[in-house]
Amino acid sequence: MADSPVIAVEGVTKSIVNGARRVDILRGIDFSVERGQFVALMGSSGSGKSTLLGLLAGLDAVSSGSIRVDGAEITKMGEDALALLRSRKIGFVFQSFNLIPTLTAEENILLPFELSGAKGDGRQRAQELLMQVGLEHRGHHYPVQLSGGEQQRVALARAFITRPSLLLADEPTGNLDSSNGRHILELLVRINRKEGATLVMVTHDAALAAYADRSILMRDGLIVADTLQTPAELATEVVG
């Protein structure tokens, strides 16, 4: 399992029917991601990057092709099996934070842990993560009481709670100002390095993509470029 790719995508297409019109969002995608890699998925609006990310998380079904996550073929799984897989192996960070408004920050972080049925002291782990994102005193606050940057930091902590092997981030800084955005991304990279997860991040910002060690560029539902960046460049950029 250690040598096999975390993500293996083969011939994936995705179409939707909009009224009488059929729209091909993904038109045949093939790529794989090695364990521990940080991949930036780039492209302009409508290129299909968010759809691809959703398919990697099993949030939607492919029209054809197959996706394997950590060796498991998720395209053949039922909804409940996918939900269980997500709770145990995949962390997700969204552009619009997507916290549950009726749960406190700490409860939001704990949610995937409790859903996964994992044993252990989840609360202690949640506290650790709150500390890592600098919100150790805000655990009992509701999302509405937190700023945008703070909400996204809670979302980061939530994504890491089950120590997922794969972390998917959909424009995690898209709803934040540049200073907050940079801070979030640095946090994401730092925690990810500590936790050792594979990270796939959707962005259309080349400056943010520079943090990654691999960039995949998409256009009109196809991969048009797939470039590796040197870890040295990355280290200078991020850790300084």
């Binding site: 399992m1 939707i16 029917v17 909009n18 009224g19 009488a20 059929r22 968010s50 759809t51 990310l53 959703g54 998380a57 949030l59 939607d60 950590d70 060796g71 498991a72 073929e73 998720i74 053949k76 799984m77 039922g78 909804e79 409940d80 099996a81 939900a83 269980l84 897989l85 997500r86 709770s87 145990r88 192996k89 997700f92 969204f94 619009s96 997507n98 916290l99 549950i100 408004p101 009726t102 749960l103 409860e107 949610l111 995937p112 842990f113 409790e114 859903l115 996964s116 049925g117 994992a118 044993k119 252990g120 782990r125 939530r158 089950t162 120590r163 092997s165 959909d170 050792g196």
Partner: protein, 877 residues
């Protein structure tokens, strides 16, 4: 990283389908509770909707159970005895022997005779139909307290020349104590008024004000002869338990009396009197089902509110699914939320229902003095909570199951909607909603069966609900489509305010039709009750066939027939030929060799177990037709044979056919005949009262009574009553108008109950309407913001909303009015053979009231929407 293994689970994909992490109940509860708290405003409607239905149910059933308990506790007082036997004829010598043999064992008995007769307070007054009751004042009552005014011992007051009368009789004839009244062939002194009569509820033939007298006084009237229309009640008192003496075996005594008085109504202190119990049970079942309708309307509202709530929680649900929650885990949250809401509503309903329980005695006070002794009744409260929670769950089931269809990808890409589906896909997807619908109906059926103790009634109830909902939905759809046509048509150029108001009804997410159905149910129900009770009697009188008699004469002696006919014919205002019929009371004993007791008769059919009327007829009477068999004739040799013709109703209820042999008991004597014909008589004919017709001579020697009938112009009836009373004081003249007045009084009392409960249905309708409007609150706020930005003034916005609410009220009122008038016309036609003119006035009032209600409910739910600042709303987009 040493503790990493605790969190990372590396298993094959197949393993994930087997295992399930669970959402802890505590967390599910926290989310459910916090969301409920956050949506308190909307959920207040939901809770109120459930509470209203439960309150009605708990009120009705709680009161009924308590009333029954009180009746049981007071059984001796209500009967004035330990045991009572009621028959409709004077006792035979064998029966007298049976009574005396009981007396030898220490069981004392006393006879009470009840009848109706004509009372006159002077030659100038019109004789009045009164309820006569004769008792032995030295023994009556064995239990309970009899009070007269002025107070005194009954045996001192009821001298053979004195009577006690009801207070209203004194007022009606302006009588003073010591005045004289005439009853039958004797005059009596009014010695006082009846204040409290313990066994009034369990008595018989209560029509008109009470006149109480001693048995000697009754003898003097000459009213009671063999075959007279009178009830005889024998009241028994068991000896007090004493050491060394055997205790009375109640069951054994009952058996002996049952044998001696076949077909009699026997009741003892261990049970609620059968006459009251049957009435109480029927009323409880009816009112429970009416309450259930209110609850169903309320539950529909809960379903709607939950649907709107889940629509808003779409994001939260999708997020939870995205971070690993499965549909079942999310169902747990919203299932709990439904339970919280249903449970809170039910508890509140129990509180209000307890208050309702206390209102019922006030409504009943006049006839049931014991009703005021009411306490707290836990069983009906539990029943209310169970019913409230169950129906809430049932109606939210479709919304809850929809959670399964919410895809987590909506948080990534909202516009990724599914395209138009093929009919096969739609059919496949409609399987779950269909199964849910079936489950809901099954649930309602189970609740209705539980409340009515009858699976058949439960099934009928569900059938009626389905038909009513289909009709209401259909009419609602038609009316809304019609309005849409008008709004879109080119004939009228509607103002922008009206067009916007119209448009609001058809926007996606607006539950206009559901609100219409809810409000329509309430309107239909209330108006139907009003129309049926309000116009039933008037319509019956107005549409009665011209030949139908409106004056009846009972207790006519054989030697009085000719003179009676002569007097009647000499009167002014005769509108038809008067007739007199002979009648023999007889009770069915065996049918085709099978005892009558073996027949399972229910409801109205039970009347065939009692004494019914038979008479001799040489020819087929006018207005009577044969349904089967052939009439007797000399030619066929059947005129002298032991044969009979049976009324169609009796034949159907008892499965009698031509050729069946029947045995009756008439005045203790057996009578046998073979059925040769089955007949049907027009309802308007006097002969409709006869179930058995025999060839001439077959009934000779049996005690015969005579009664007559005639149709007169109503204004001339009092003169006829005076003339007949002058010649024959023992003949009772019944003016149908007086009887109808009594029926009207009873109906009015029944109506108070039904209207009281149907008020709950209307209230539930209002709550649903408010809930449905509150459900569209966010959409409205946005629309108002956009319209304000584009320059709409507050008054224009108010106009748009008012048009929408007015249209809703108008359509609901119109729909309810249409169905109610159709339904009440059907009831009048089907059950009472009466035609009602179209009730324009109540319908108009009802529609206006519904429009007002809709506006009040709508504006209550829209408060503060107009106050929102546009920028704040639009920035939050």
């Amino acid at each position: 990283m040493s503790d990493k293994s605790r969190f990372v689970v590396n298993k094959s994909p197949e393993a994930y389908t087997e295992e399930a992490g669970t959402l802890p109940w505590a967390l599910a509860w926290r989310i459910a509770w916090r969301e409920s708290r956050a949506s308190l405003g909307r959920f207040a409607f939901v809770v109120a909707a459930v509470a209203i239905g439960v309150a009605a149910l708990v009120g009705v059933r709680g009161f009924s159970n308590l009333f029954e308990t009180v009746l049981l506790k007071e059984a001796r007082n209500l009967m004035a005895a330990d045991l009572s036997v009621r028959v409709f004829r004077l006792p035979t010598p064998e029966q007298e022997n049976a009574l005396q043999s009981l007396e030898k064992e220490g069981i004392i008995y006393t006879q009470v005779t009840e009848s109706v007769s004509m009372l006159s307070a002077g030659p100038e007054t019109v004789p009045l139909l009164v309820s006569v009751k004769a008792v032995d004042p030295t023994l009556y009552p064995f239990y309970g307290e009899f009070r007269a005014k002025p107070a005194g011992k009954l045996q001192d007051i009821l001298q053979p020349d004195a009577v006690l009368v009801a207070e209203d009789l004194m007022i009606r004839f302006e009588l003073e104590l010591g005045d004289s009244i005439r009853l039958g062939s004797a005059s009596f002194r009014v010695a006082g008024t009846v204040e409290n009569e313990p066994d009034r509820m369990t008595g018989s033939l209560n029509a008109g004000p009470r006149v109480l007298m001693s048995r000697e006084a009754l003898e003097r009237t000459g009213l009671i002869t063999e075959g007279s229309r009178a009830a005889q009640r024998f009241l028994f008192r068991f000896p007090a338990a004493e050491p060394g003496k055997p205790v009375v075996n109640v069951e054994q005594v009952r058996e002996r009396l049952k044998e001696a008085f076949p077909g009699a109504m026997i009741s003892d202190f261990r049970q609620v009197h059968p006459a009251i119990q049957r009435g109480l049970q029927s009323a409880t079942t009816f009112l429970s089902l009416v309450s259930l309708i209110a609850l169903i309307v309320g539950s529909l509202g809960v379903g709607m509110a939950m649907q709107a709530h889940l629509q808003q929680k779409l994001d939260s649900i999708a997020i939870m699914k995205a971070v690993g929650a499965r549909s079942n885990q999310i169902l747990r949250i919203y299932g709990l939320q439904t339970l919280i809401l249903g449970g809170t509503g039910a508890l509140l309903g129990v509180l209000v229902g307890t208050g309702v329980q206390r209102v019922f005695p006030l409504l009943l006070e006049r006839n049931f003095p014991v009703a005021a002794q009411i306490g707290w009744e836990p069983w009906s409260a539990m029943q209310g909570i169970a019913t409230g929670v169950l129906s809430t769950l049932l109606f939210t089931l479709p919304s809850l199951l929809d959670i399964r269809r919410i895809r987590p990808n909506v948080i990534l890409r909202r516009e990724m909607e599914e395209g138009r589906k093929t009919w096969k896909e739609r059919l496949r997807e409609s399987r779950v909603p269909l199964a849910t619908g079936f489950l809901i109906l099954l649930g309602i059926g189970a609740i209705a069966s539980w409340l009515s103790n009858s699976v058949r009634l439960g099934a009928y109830f569900v059938g009626a609900i389905v038909v009513a909902l289909l009709v209401l939905n259909g009419i609602g759809w038609l009316l809304l489509q019609g309005l849409k046509r008008i709004a879109e048509g080119k004939t009228f150029r509607l103002s922008m305010t009206v067009r916007q108001g119209f448009g609001n009804l058809y926007r996606p997410g607006n539950h206009a039709r559901a609100a219409l159905v809810a409000l329509g149910v309430g309107v239909t129900f209330t108006l139907t009750v009003y129309l049926v009770q309000g116009s039933m009697l008037a319509s019956m009188v107005a549409s009665a066939p011209p030949n139908m008699p409106n004056v009846f004469f009972i207790n006519v002696q054989p030697n009085q027939q000719d003179e009676l006919l002569r007097i009647v014919k000499s009167q002014k205002g005769l509108a038809g030929e008067p007739s007199v019929r002979s009648s023999v009371s007889m009770r069915l004993d065996q049918i085709g060799g099978k005892k009558l007791d073996d027949f399972q008769l229910e409801g109205f059919d039970r009347r065939f177990q009692r004494e019914r009327n038979g008479r001799e007829a040489a020819e087929l009477p006018a207005g009577t037709t044969l349904v089967d068999g052939s009439w007797w004739s000399k030619a066929a040799g059947t005129a002298e044979a032991p044969v009979v013709s049976i009324a169609e109703d009796a034949a159907k209820a008892l499965h009698i056919q031509v050729g069946t042999r029947i045995r009756w008991v008439a005045a203790g004597q057996p009578l046998e005949a073979m059925v040769v014909a089955i007949h049907k008589t027009e309802e308007s004919r006097m002969d409709a009262g006869f179930d058995y017709l025999f060839p001439p001579g077959r009934l000779s020697g049996l005690p015969t009574i005579y009664f007559g009938a005639v149709r007169m112009t109503p204004a001339d009836v009092p003169a006829l009553q005076r003339a007949v009373y002058g010649a024959f004081p023992s003949i009772t003249v019944i003016n149908i108008a007086d009887v109808l007045a009594i029926v009207q009084e009873v109906l009015d009392q029944v109506t108070i109950f039904v209207e009281f409960i149907s008020f709950f249905a209307i209230l539930a309708g209002v709550v649903i309407l408010s809930a449905s409007i509150a459900g569209t609150r966010f959409r409205r706020i946005r629309e108002v913001a956009i319209l304000k930005t584009l320059g709409a003034t507050r008054s224009r916005l108010r106009g748009i909303f008012s048009v929408e609410f007015t249209l809703l009220g108008l359509v609901a009122g119109l729909m309810g009015a249409l169905i109610a008038s159709g339904f009440s016309a059907l009831v009048l036609q089907r059950f009472f053979d009466a035609q009602a003119p179209f009730p324009w006035q109540p319908i108009a009032v009802c529609i206006v009231a519904t429009v007002l209600i809709a506006n009040v409910a709508g504006w209550l739910a829209s408060l503060r929407i107009l106050d929102q600042k546009p920028l704040v709303v639009l920035r939050g987009d």
